[in-house]
Symmetry: C2
Subunit: 334 residues, 2 copies
DNA sequence: CTGTTAGCGCATTCAC
DNA sequence: GTGAATGCGCTAACAG
């Protein structure tokens, strides 16, 4: 049926080992026989069976990506970076989407026991200690993206810093009544970023001598609709904020809609800064904190491949910078 | 190192064949030995090595998904359906993203020759005849999603019908000056849907006795920004349209923005209907034609798995229905 | 430099 | 019912 290494060997009049050597670029083959083998390969239209190779080498040539809710724009963009970096490698990308804690645990167990991936990228999730131990024992390197565990390699951005920068930006514009809008943290996955943004926010307020007002600190479901409601609530306060820092662009958009509905112009009546710099941000002229999403995917792949190639060593830590992208939704306090 | 079937066999005091039988649910094993084997498996924490199984069975237990620009929301949603359906199966999902014709051809060649996938889902792309022949020869079933080739199984929606429905909706509201906004078709991938939408549009106009006006037919780059410009151009016409059918929700949003900028209210001054029913559509209260994106992914997986299990046969064709979702952006002609 | 051989871990005849 | 033996296609010692 399919043409195998043996067919090529016969055709070229050599042993299968020689064919294997040619395929794998082993230098100890005479130029002459190499040519003969290459010709045979060409004529027979041969390509090595990857599965046999995998069994033989004991490697799967596969990288797994564990991602919660991969359809969320942040994750899509990270995935894009991962896909991009992996496309140029010999590794296949297999996607594991997680929508419930049960799924998460199932995949963790599955992937650490079965011989399914050579390495795993984990987005915005932190495995438990036993799970980490299992991967370690199975000798499967892990790289966290946008999540932190002291023993694991990771690619992160400093969200506390991001929160500081956003807040600093508003303070520099003269604002003092600055609200924070973020996703609620009763989510089963409880992503760390928003909480860290809040830390940066409160730290920077503190540094500026601005008291934290709890009525300016609102949380709700992720998504525009919810953010719009929160925005309306904020703007209905007796002393409404003059600026809002939203822990995601999606929520920033919701807040802007609330402002518009209430007859408030942005940025004249209300400054809004988002977080993430998602696709729509530029288009909507939204001031935001740029997060290197695509780049984080690329970097994570680089780190993981290094870990796969080299013997295990110290965790590799890459921290990518964030910066404010000042566009049209923030302005000096009126 | 890792525990193998041999370890289990030894532990249970049986041959490896028996262990294999137990694993694969072969009935010809006595209940007693089955229990013994299961215990051994449990104690040793054994899981079969999938790669060895793949080599032995000659199947990869892998499904490939070929998708152009997978970050576009339409594709993300289809991918979600695919992922969802595949998660419950024994198959891995490996993602191949395509951004250039060269990449497309490379993957087609690669996947048809190498033993990498048991089947392939192809989104919005049609392979060439030689490529189809190659897959056929390699015995790798193909399922097209949102694309048509007479010899291939596929899951589609009737975009001509979709275009008719959208146009009919506007006509029923009394509109006669109806414009069509779509992506330009000088794209190297030239997705078929927009063109078919246009066919439905022009067919329905014809049926209603409304002449097609070429100044009402505008095309431009995919994306909001471009659509906004087209919208402005349309609304600046001496005799501007009273309604716009956009071949994608993204473009519909751009048109709505153009209307707002020019002081026209939607739907009072301008009716807008989109296409796709993407996530934002409901939120923005956009009237649109619902496309079963998620469902198309699920169905495609079902078809593909059937094709993998069963001997090749007639192409399986699934056509999913579309329908207008009437929301707040269309109204009777003023 | 090159061919022979021995696995990789499992499924699967084929005898018993 | 069950075990021993063979092979899936390839890589990697090991001899020559």
């Amino acid at each position: 049926m399919a043409v195998t290494i043996r067919d090529v060997a016969k055709r070229a009049g050599v042993g299968i080992a020689t064919v294997s050597r040619v395929i794998n670029g082993n230098p100890s083959v005479s130029e002459e026989t190499r040519q003969r083998v290459l010709e045979a390969i060409e004529e027979l239209n041969y390509t090595p069976n990857p599965i046999a190779r995998r069994l033989s080498t004991g490697r799967t040539w596969t990288v797994g990506v564990l991602v919660p809710f991969f359809t969320l724009p942040e994750f899509v963009k990270r995935l894009q970076g991962i896909q991009h970096a992996l496309a140029e490698s010999a590794y296949d990308l297999v996607l594991f989407n997680i929508e419930t804690p049960a799924q998460r645990d199932k995949y963790f167990l599955d992937l650490s026991r079965n011989n399914r991936v050579d390495g795993l990228l984990i987005l915005s999730l932190v495995p438990g200690e036993e799970q980490i131990a299992a991967f370690d024992e199975a000798n499967i390197p892990l790289v966290l993206v946008d999540a932190v565990h002291p023993d694991l390699s990771r690619v992160t951005v400093n969200h506390v810093r991001g929160g500081e920068l956003a807040t600093e930006h508003l303070i520099a514009l003269g604002h003092r009544r600055i609200a924070f809008v973020g996703p609620s943290d009763d989510d089963p996955f409880r992503f760390a970023a928003p909480q860290q943004c809040f830390q940066g926010y409160s730290r920077m307020l503190d540094a500026a001598g601005i008291p934290l007002r709890k009525e300016y600190h609102v949380r709700g479901a992720y998504g525009r609709e919810s953010a719009r409601k929160m925005g309306r609530a904020l703007l209905s306060l007796d002393e409404p904020p003059t600026a809002v820092f939203a822990a995601s662009d999606t929520q920033a958009i919701g807040v802007m809609e609330a402002a518009r509905e209430m007859g408030l112009r942005v940025p004249e009546g209300l400054s809004v800064i988002g977080y993430g710099d998602l696709r729509d941000a530029e288009y909507l002229n939204l001031t935001t904190v740029h997060q290197p999403l695509f780049e984080s995917g690329v970097e994570a792949v680089n780190v993981l491949l290094a870990l796969i190639e080299d013997p295990p060593r110290e965790p590799i830590v890459v921290e990518l910078p964030v910066h404010v992208v000042s566009r049209g939704t923030t302005a000096p306090r009126g």
